[in-house]
């Protein structure tokens, strides 16, 4: 399992070289993963500079932990775990300091307010006036921000990293049924959030 994973995953091979002190391999690893991580954190936080900072934090943790890296799992799962931990730390810091510009975290229980706001905002984004893709992106991004942290991370890992249930569960320290439930609720909430826009689109 380990050998197969390491053999088939270029990132794992790069990480093994980094562990052995190959600085060039680390550069390759950063080059390979930076845009993916920035995209993940961009849709998670809604802020590009914050996303880059968090991606850098992930790389720094990877580098600090290089000596202890064991290819017991795919590098993808490992780095997704670190990314999830970094995002979790950001949430805890923002909760303590109340100063980070994270999008409003609307939980499932308190999503009604956010959905109402989405509906009100979407009223100004009727299809007749929704001329370009940027506005659609804003609607989807805002709908994504109505998810709670774990739902959003699960959706992003599934959608943009194309992780399987098992990989998401491993990265987020959840069981597979829990991930399925998480994604199901996220899907429903996304659908409700985008519904006003879709209704206007069909009319």
């Amino acid at each position: 399992m380990v050998s197969e994973t390491a053999a088939g995953d270029p990132s794992t091979e790069l990480m093994l070289r980094v562990r052995d002190g190959d600085a060039v391999a680390f550069e390759h690893l950063v080059n390979l993963w930076q845009s993916r991580l920035v995209t993940l954190f961009l849709h998670h936080t809604g802020d590009h500079s914050t996303a880059e900072d968090l991606a850098q934090e992930v790389f720094l943790r990877v580098y600090r932990s290089r000596a202890n890296y064991q290819p017991t799992a795919k590098f993808t799962t490992w780095i997704h775990t670190i990314a999830n931990n970094v995002a979790s730390d950001l949430r805890q810091r923002s909760y303590r300091r109340r100063e980070y510009g994270v999008p409003a975290n609307v939980s499932a229980s308190s999503s009604a307010i956010g959905l109402e706001q989405i509906a009100v905002d979407a009223s100004g984004l009727m299809p007749a006036r929704l001329a370009d893709r940027t506005e659609l992106q804003a609607v989807v991004q805002q709908a994504l921000s109505t998810l709670n942290e774990r739902q959003r991370m699960a959706v992003l890992l599934a959608k943009f990293e194309q992780c399987s249930y098992e990989e998401i569960a491993a990265a987020m320290n959840l069981t597979v049924p829990a991930v399925k439930s998480l994604l199901f609720r996220a899907r429903d909430q996304l659908r409700e959030a985008i519904a006003p826009y879709m209704q206007g689109d069909q009319s």
């Binding site: 993916r36 600090r64 959608k159 992780c163 249930y165 659908r191 209704q199």
Partner: protein, 383 residues
């Protein structure tokens, strides 16, 4: 955006998501689940800034000595980062990291314990500091009255005389007893040993305090509290005074302290505290003023005490009538003429027109005599 292909052996969430046909909520024709999922595709793929990789490499190239993470954990000790599982320990990965920081942690712990031990050995505790200054604490009132070494030296150089009058409302026995108490306090101060002592002396003093009667220990505790409330400079000054008074070679300072004590005793007890609280200069000014007054108005010469309240002067036994009143009234008749008898009692009255007065009248008083009246009756009565 570089997208990783999903693992073939793992179920993809996209495959697991229900289709619009099978979704019970897909009865709403306005919304298809696939559309919701596909709508996420409109989210743009981010592009890292050009300098991000360079700054990341630069940040990662921090020397190992400074490679303490921002969370405070050394390299490789972030269990969540190294284990690959949130909150799950990874023994195979974490044990080497423990081996890395364990010697350092042990060294830090040993240094900490050694520092605490050295600190306890060198730095005296507050209790030990008090016990080291026990003679000062025990004679705090005496030393506070003395003030400072500089003040005592100024008093010694000033040549001030002792007060000529005794303290108010004190007999000679009281004055003598007070002087004996002062000398006893000085003797006890000298017998108490050094003001600052070594550890053995502190231990002996601790036992001495423990053997004290309860009342004496409480008094000592009050003095200790007062001593601790003083500033560091004041405490040092009192310790210096204690050393000076306990030094047999500085008798002039002891005489000055005794002289100052006698002057302070002239004041009422309520006023003595104000005098003691004066600064050294104010004390000297007060001593100058009252020593001048005392020298001008010697109570042994005129019998008046300027420091005695006016309402108390009438009861002063040393006060006598002025000399002109001590000679008696002027003589209005010659010595060869017989003096009229001095009426006894209220007298016969104010005159014949008013009739006899309330006095005893003729026949009721003593018989007239030719003897001259006693000398005190010829003098004016004292006021």
């Amino acid at each position: 955006m570089t997208m990783k292909q999903p693992a073939e052996d793992a179920a993809s969430p996209r495959e697991a998501l229900p289709t619009p046909v099978s979704d019970a909520d897909a009865t709403d024709p306005s919304l298809a689940l696939a559309d919701v999922w596909d709508l996420l595709d409109v989210l743009p793929a981010a592009v890292a800034s050009p300098d991000m990789m360079a700054s990341t490499i630069e940040m990662a190239a921090v020397p190992a000595s400074a490679a303490i993470s921002r969370t405070g954990s050394p390299i490789g000790t972030d269990s969540r980062a190294t284990s690959g599982r949130v909150g799950r320990p990874a023994p195979a990965a974490s044990w080497p990291s423990v081996r890395q920081w364990l010697p350092g942690a042990a060294l830090v712990l040993a240094s900490l314990l050694a520092g605490i031990a050295v600190g306890r050995a060198t730095a005296p505790s507050p209790e030990s500091a008090l016990l080291a200054s026990l003679p000062v604490v025990q004679h705090l009132d005496l030393l506070r009255e003395a003030g400072s070494v500089a003040f005592l030296e100024a008093v010694a150089k000033g040549g001030y005389p002792p007060p000529r009058r005794p303290p108010p409302a004190q007999s000679k026995a009281d004055v003598r007893e007070d002087a004996e108490e002062f000398d006893a306090a000085i003797a006890a101060l000298r017998a108490g040993g050094a003001v600052t002592a070594d550890r053995e002396t502190v231990s002996l003093r601790r036992e001495q305090v423990l053997r004290m009667p309860e009342a004496q220990r409480r008094q000592l505790e009050r003095s200790a509290e007062m001593f601790q409330r003083l500033s560091g400079a004041d405490r040092s000054e009192l310790i210096a005074v204690g050393r000076a008074l306990a030094d047999p070679g500085r008798e002039q300072l002891l005489k000055a302290a005794r002289l100052w004590h006698a002057w302070v005793q002239l004041r009422d007890p309520a006023d003595r505290r104000d005098i003691i609280d004066l600064s050294g200069e104010d004390r000297l000014e007060w001593l100058d003023r009252w020593s001048r007054i005392d020298s001008r108005q010697d109570p042994r010469q005129d019998g008046r005490d300027p420091m005695r309240p006016f309402y108390d002067r009438e009861r002063d036994p040393r006060r006598r009538p002025p000399p002109e009143f001590q000679q008696g009234p002027p003589q209005l008749w010659r010595d060869d003429h017989p003096r009229p008898p001095r009426p006894r009692g209220p007298g016969p009255g104010l005159g014949p027109a008013l009739g006899p007065g309330p006095g005893p009248g003729p026949g009721m008083g003593p018989p007239p005599t030719d003897r001259p009246p006693p000398p005190e009756e010829t003098q004016a009565p004292p006021r």
